[in-house]
Amino acid sequence: SQKIEQNSEALNIQEGKTATLTCNYTNYSPAYLQWYRQDPGRGPVFLLLIRENEKEKRKERLKVTFDTTLKQSLFHITASQPADSATYLCALFLYNQGGKLIFGQGTELSVKP
């Protein structure tokens, strides 16, 4: 069965630096990889999706890479701000399993002023 892991539970960085979060998966089958943001007491909010034939996707200060050889996705937030502090979840979207999302355990990012 598919498994997805985020390599750290918490990440602390200084404002202005680039935050890099890592997501690794196993037993890959045709899927897309997604990143969500979750604030305390709220539901996850979709940020970015990257398909298996894409190497990189950008949205404003966010960048996602997808390496199907390493079975890894990296999520970058450039010029980080305290408002970026939240838990970030990666998820495998299993297209051939009814659109099931398998989530990683999340990385709690804290950006200090």
Partner: protein, 116 residues
């Protein structure tokens, strides 16, 4: 103008009781989901419905029964509540595949269930 709404937001109840959580989306989406987030923040899918038809049913105890009266609503009924059912339950929805958005899910605010 809430997109995906859930009621109640908080639910505190005794072991053995039966309770329901309601979910509604006004986005016109065809597919709706229920997820459970445990105390370690791990989010796991429970059920998925497409146009009122069950399409995903993970290994969930029979005490959990989803019901979809129409494609805008997906309710979750839980019988004989146990301590281990305490968690945050999230409803989500996604647009039709042909709209190119099946992959994107929109989550509700969550229902915090505490079983005593």
């Amino acid at each position: 103008d809430t997109a995906v709404s859930q009621t109640p937001k908080y639910l505190v109840t005794q072991m053995g009781n039966d309770k329901s959580i309601k979910c509604e989306q006004n986005l016109g989406h065809d597919t709706m989901y229920w997820y459970k987030q445990d105390s370690k923040k791990f989010l796991k899918i429970m059920f998925s419905y497409n146009n009122k038809e069950l399409i995903i049913n993970e290994t969930v105890p029979n005490r959990f029964s989803p019901k979809s009266p129409d494609k805008a609503h997906l309710n979750l009924h839980i019988n004989s509540l146990e301590l281990g059912d305490s968690a945050v339950y999230f409803c989500a929805s996604s647009p039709p595949q042909l709209a190119g958005g099946l992959e994107t899910q929109y989550f509700g605010p969550g229902t915090r269930l505490l079983v005593l």
